[in-house]
Symmetry: C2
Subunit: 570 residues, 2 copies
């Protein structure tokens, strides 16, 4: 494994030594017992899996091919090492983690290559295509849609192209607020380099610490502050994408950083979301902002979900422009209160006597209340004014502000959620997420019907399950609902997971939502693509992929299946 | 010609009886004489061309084919009538008007069909594709990029599909702020129907009165208030596109109105800008807004262009969110002052003694000052606050406000500009426009170099020409510059036009701008596409078109040439 690039642990999220702990959260164990019937006191965690137990088929890469790549990137940056191949087999979806922990590695990539610059990427791509090798680009490895794994029946050599060495901020055009950044930069790499010069990208997905700019672009990512900064499609203006070169024609696709353009179907918007199928994204020129003078996240409580959503809808339509609008449903609010630590002021407020007394005086029910976070960014006066505008709307819908305490907590914990999934897996339980965007008029209906569909699925497999949700992003015409679900595995973990996951995805589609708002399609969501964008929409996308990659060398059969094997994905 | 659809006059912009008049604008004739050497007093306009002089080749459509279409849309809604064919031959570009006035109609469509609903569109499309007919969709006919004309050497039957009967507002989802509207609705149709229910689309391109929703989408249009409402790509969420149906598979491509989505390369963003090449847009679901309580456009003067652009750039980066930011360069400011009518208060101010006195006191030069319009929309308090924020920035850059007078004038005159082109053509002179978007860091450089390139081109053809510009749209990371140029024709109108137009387009590309910001590609801009989005970008787009329309039935050879004939366009 190359020394230059740090990966997450092969069997779970994040880095060794960081994890979720419950002993300092007095409400957590009772909550989990009540929600999914798991007694944390009597369910000791399993030990981390041993890498020695993992078996991987021999690499199909010939020594000659490996050596030809070594001559491009250097011998240290091409490898058929077992650990490297396992790390690059999957992303970090629940399905991925269950499989890797159970030594279910049907098809690992045959080799991993770490290019150091765009020219090396071009030469690797050309060598791979010439040898009819499959290329799968790899950023931070945080994908949860199955976008990274080789198909089980792939008989050609599979090359995982790890972009981790290409993580530099190349340049900032300070006059235009545009930064050129290499695609392999992880969130912290990138914000650190920008921050040192007074700038921010403002893109903070849950995966921020372990996901890359190129990965965000390839999967159409959205960050927590996208109400202000936009989704990645809004943020990315310029792009470099390496495609096969041919006699006299450079393989480099260049989209220049134009703010807006009227040059036919948007090739930029074809690259965004392409999950490697159109080529290898090597750099992007992105819209950046000066770090705002003021940045605050405030907490609010609403008497119930409907009131909270009505407020969010009115905020989206109003003149107010908060940077974050987020509200948890009653179940997720209960979860948040349960995961609070004792010592924090806010938690005393919430878990102690203050909140119950307050609610009684308002006639609120503890089982109905919803916790909301709303962020304000910009100049001092702007942030203050936005809060004033929002506070008025919150009040109109019966909500109340509870200050910055919860917002500070939210800010501190916002990137920790993925660790909870490993905590549950260690104890034989599933925890996963799925999200959808929909018009405002469908938000309540979709929310209730997804919860009902999940509960029906839990009943079907005969387990006690849990599902909760928050509205994570809002737009003028709609919002994104983000669902988290959990259950204790029975005898067939992946079979049970499929029943629940499928019920949720189908309910998204049936209730006017997209199959995915910011996690991409990969293999996991591909079965619903036709229901989302219609057969003709899929035909257009398929036509694009087949025309542009006739040899099916670029992450084939992701998003849509090849014509030859439609049954496999659809 | 069907009675249900009104067209612009066949030889020019707009409707009979409306035109540009100079006698009530005392500064205009001297201005024109000085700018392009045309003496309006001694250059009497030519009479409108006579339709009898126009010759069109016989229609290639067989009676059987015409009759098969009549059985779909009704006999009144399919025609091979000469006037109908001529109206549908071209858009309204300068090249189009020169040609049609000179009876240069190389290839008219063979028939025109007016479908009444989506089902009829599907049946027409299927019949046309089965008969290997070329289909060119037609909205308001205002296109200026050559997107509407059949290629001269097209040997197949060409069908112009006029969407003018499909212009209904189908539905408003008031909770989500989304309206379903048929693609053939012209600007006024659409705003009238929305306005009656208290809503607005907020999309006001110069062509507003004679362009359609479907045309805006097909060419990636932008309106004057897009700073607030977004470009058409931002506005359009849902789409219906009719493509050929096949056994068991509907031809209707449906993109549902999702606010944001992560479902692979954006098919929505492939349709936007596709100029008919991917199918026929029949309806769209668009983001609409409640008509704001307040809507004002204020005028400002800046001492010079650089100061004005610096202010616009700072506004774009600030917390302020005006609905319009627009500034004319010194030349266009001179033109605006010259086209003012005597009687208006503002014009007295500008053309009388007030402005000169004021400028003297500030040390400004009349030849340098730049007129700017900035719009504020929303609630009363919001609009007031935005103006306050903007006024502070204007002042910092040495500008000064001159009240609402010029804004009212601007609002009244904003859709009249195209009539000026006919006025000039009637007098043997060219007037045309071309626009580009670029990062802020390139705005001044591009502006100056485009002016220089145009002047060099004027010299080259040995004429006295004129070019002026305004910044028409701004974004966080850049802006759009909109250039207007004019000259008196010599012996070879289109040859001379080509020299100037090419010089301007090439200067866009050479100075970091897009080849087009909101007019599309068509035939007119196709030669620069490769320089704009790179060979690989064009290869991706070409791959898409060829895969999705293998028979080349949908407006072929627009945007990019077919593989078979790359030389023709590129």
């Amino acid at each position: 494994m190359t020394d230059d690039v740090q990966h997450m642990k092969w069997w779970g999220w994040g880095v060794d030594g960081v994890g979720f702990h419950w002993q300092d959260k007095p409400g957590f164990a009772p909550f989990v017992e009540q929600a999914v019937g798991l007694d944390l006191h009597t369910a000791p965690p399993v030990d981390p899996p041993s890498f020695d137990d993992i078996t991987v088929a021999a690499s199909l890469a010939s020594p000659a091919f490996v050596s030809s790549l070594a001559s491009i990137v250097g011998a240290d940056h091409v490898t058929t090492d077992k650990l490297d191949r396992v790390v690059h087999t999957y992303g970090k979806s629940l399905r991925d983690l269950v499989r890797v922990r159970a030594n279910l590695i049907e098809r690992a990539p045959d080799l991993v290559v770490y290019p150091g610059d765009e020219d090396e990427v071009q030469r690797v791509v050309d060598a791979a295509v010439a040898a009819d090798v499959v290329i799968i680009p790899f950023g931070g490895g945080s994908n949860i849609a199955g976008s990274l794994e080789p198909r089980a029946d792939e008989t050609r050599v599979v090359l995982s192209l790890d972009m981790g060495r290409m993580r530099e901020l190349i340049d900032i055009d300070e006059e235009s607020g545009l930064a050129r950044i290499q695609a392999g930069a992880l969130g912290p790499d990138l914000e650190q380099q920008l921050g040192a010069r007074g700038w921010t990208l403002g893109h903070f997905p849950d995966s921020f610490t372990h996901s890359s700019l190129g990965g965000w672009i390839a999967t159409r990512s959205s960050g927590m502050q996208s109400d202000k900064y936009g989704d990645i499609a809004d943020i990315v203006r310029g792009l470099h994408v390496v495609r096969p070169s041919s006699a006299g024609v450079s393989g480099l696709l260049v989209i220049r950083p134009i703010p807006s353009s009227s040059t036919g179907p948007s090739v930029r918007e074809m690259i965004v979301g392409s999950e490697g199928r159109l080529g290898i994204i090597t750099e992007a020129t992105v819209v950046v902002h000066r770090i705002p003078a003021k940045r605050d996240v405030y907490g609010y409580f609403f008497p119930n979900w409907e009131a909270g959503i009505a407020a969010m809808e009115e905020i989206a339509e109003s003149d107010a422009t908060p940077s974050i609008t987020r509200i948890s449903d009653a179940r997720e609010t209960g979860f948040s209160l349960a995961t609070s630590k004792e010592r924090h002021g806010f938690d005393k407020f919430a878990a102690g006597t203050v909140l119950p007394t307050l609610m009684k005086s308002k006639g609120w029910k503890l089982d109905d209340i919803c916790l909301s976070f709303i962020g304000y960014e910009g100049g001092e006066a702007h942030a203050t004014r936005q809060k004033k505008l929002v506070d008025r709307i919150v009040k109109k819908h019966g909500g109340m502000g509870v200050g910055k305490g919860p917002g500070v907590l939210y800010d501190q914990k916002k990137f920790d959620t993925p660790y909870l999934r490993d905590f549950l897996l260690d104890r034989g339980a599933a925890g996963d997420v799925s999200e959808s965007a929909m018009p405002w008029s469908k938000v309540n209906q979709l929310h209730d019907n997804v919860v009902a569909a999940a509960e029906k699925a839990f009943d079907e497999i005969g387990i006690k399950g849990w599902i909760m949700s928050h509205m994570s992003h809002s737009y003028h015409s709609g919002a994104c609902l983000y669902f988290t679900f959990a259950f204790v595995f029975g005898k067939d973990p992946l079979g049970e997971y499929d029943v629940v996951k499928r019920a949720i995805q189908q309910a998204f589609i049936d209730n006017g939502g997209s199959l995915s708002h910011h996690h991409g399609v990969g293999l996991e969501h591909a079965p619903w693509l036709e229901q989302d964008i219609s057969s003709q929409g899929v035909a257009v996308m398929r036509g694009l992929f087949e025309a542009v990659d006739p040899g099916a060398n670029f992450n084939p059969r992701k998003i849509v299946a090849d014509l030859k094997e439609p049954a496999e994905v659809n």
